[in-house]
Assembly symmetry: C2
């Protein structure tokens, strides 16, 4: 297997790469488990500083994902699996419509176009988002909920889902679009995602730094820990095409947590002094965007494929602290 | 008002142009009724042979709609309304994925991009299709039915709908996407739409020509007559943005008719000898595609805006015969 990960130098990309190297194999589009011989990270900048980067199976292609030649360089004919994680995040796609279209739509399309020219149709895992839903929504979204994005990021991801499903139906690729919950706790620095604070309000206080929460305490989110997201991405890759029916889009199971309860978990797990570092200052734009996202999904199809959610938010905080101790 | 119609030399485009010239006015994006000063037809070839083409308000821009410069030439700053009818039809989009993407997605996007650069956000009427739905569907589709296209034409129209809704939400355009039923009876020659036969089995026998029906007699379709479609396009244009809520997509009301009953209508209205010119020869590809389309819509939002369906199929056949007598 030759596996390509776009956004491979990002947090999720690196986590996925490391897990795939440990795992050592994946199931190809014909349903045969095969060893991973090559793992290619595609990103704007090269990943560095991690021990596994010296693994002989790993290579990197760096540059602008909006440039066809760069993607063509990454997608050599031996490529059998693509994880397309690279994206302009929600806050940035809302602030700059054109850059969102260029990366989230155009680059996705170029990548799909190169993918379909490969000798055998490869597996193509596209990371979509719960932001494809918005507006007046039921408490729990069924798998056949209509897509009504209320932000450009969600609209662009929804267009990607349509393309992945149609090209899969035509046999050009063996695609699957996974709608990921908000991922928390991400390490590192805040990014331009409207959901960035959901990691910040846990990560910063644990590091002894004050954090500002820009949404109402009662605003709730559908969330998942990074290691669980990786589990589910791999399950999504491994699922046979025959289990995916007429749409290739799958809502990944998660848990619903109010932001107030995230901070309570932090207090329980890390202590009141740590949790007291969170202050509240409403940013109406972020609150509007985040509040437009869905609160909970039935995620029946995802569960049927074997995808799982975290036990609770305390668990997510504990797992994050454990990771930090290891590094 | 300066009104641009893409696909303006096509059957529907010409019908719309003629109706707009008679009507003489439209409501602009601010809700003010204004006289139509200019009507621009954009198409691959120029419309010809119709008396109203000599109206001083009419001009034509001809060329490849996939070329940005051509669209830019049509969309001068005075433009206040755009009816985007140009498209690669279902059969052709299924046979040639790339040409469908180029016209149905790329040209639509270029047109939207030029539209948003106009001084005031104009009204933008996008003709979508019932082919955005497919697969296992309820008997009657509610307005919040999930989009599950089972053909590339439907997938491409669904992408267009997402873009129209998102750009309208952002205030870049005042868009509305109308999902038209299958239009019958179209005059002229068969085209590459999978639904082309639905006109052919009425039009050809009336003209004394034999016609072959490529689908099962019990295959039913959601249909509308050309003049009724024009009524509904104009109602869709006139609707105030405030009536359109979080999505700009509207399913247009129609009637459900089995192909067998279309031929019965033909027999009742035009006689048994005429109806006997229809023979049956199944084309599994066409039957599969047409059968995947929805049978009926609640179309509550469309009806609320004042859109209407034809009374019955006999009426549609009679109206067609009357039009033919006039020409």
């Amino acid at each position: 297997m030759r596996v390509v990960i776009t956004g491979g130098a990002g947090f999720l990309g690196r986590l996925l790469a490391q897990r795939l190297l440990e795992r050592g194999e994946l199931t190809d589009a014909r349903g045969t488990p095969r060893g991973i011989d090559e793992l290619v990270l595609v990103d704007m900048i090269a990943a560095e500083g991690e021990a596994w980067l010296t693994d002989p199976r790993v290579s990197q292609v760096t540059g602008d994902i909006g440039v066809r030649a760069l993607l063509a360089q990454a997608l050599t004919p031996a490529t059998t699996s693509i994880f397309h994680l690279a994206a302009v995040v929600s806050g940035q796609a809302e602030a700059d419509f054109d850059i969102g279209m260029r990366v989230n739509v155009d680059a996705t399309r170029t990548l799909l176009d190169l993918t379909r020219q490969l000798p055998a149709p490869p597996k193509f895992v596209f990371t979509s988002s719960i932001a494809v839903f918005g507006g007046a929504l039921p408490q729990v979204l069924p798998d056949d909920q209509i897509l009504t994005p209320q932000g450009s990021y969600g609209a662009q991801k929804a267009m990607g889902e349509l393309l992945v499903s149609d090209m899969s139906r035509r046999g050009m690729i063996d695609g699957r679009s996974l709608r990921l919950p908000t991922i928390t706790v991400r390490p590192g620095k805040p990014n331009k995602a409207a959901s960035s604070f959901a990691s910040g309000i846990i990560r910063e206080p644990i590091a002894g730094v004050d954090a500002v929460c820009p949404v109402h305490p009662e605003t709730a989110m559908w969330v998942q820990s990074p290691p669980r997201v990786i589990d589910n991405l791999i399950i999504g890759h491994e699922a046979p095409a025959s289990a995916l029916h007429t749409t290739r889009s799958i809502s990944v199971p998660g848990i619903t947590v109010a932001v107030r309860d995230m901070v309570s978990s932090l207090a329980r797990v890390a202590g009141d002094t740590v949790a007291a570092r969170v202050s509240w200052h409403l940013d109406p734009t972020i609150d509007r965007l985040v509040s437009s996202w869905p609160l909970a999904f039935a995620a029946d199809r995802g569960r049927m494929l074997g995808m799982t959610a975290d036990a609770d938010f305390d668990d997510i905080v504990r797992a994050y602290i454990a990771t930090q101790r290891r590094t």
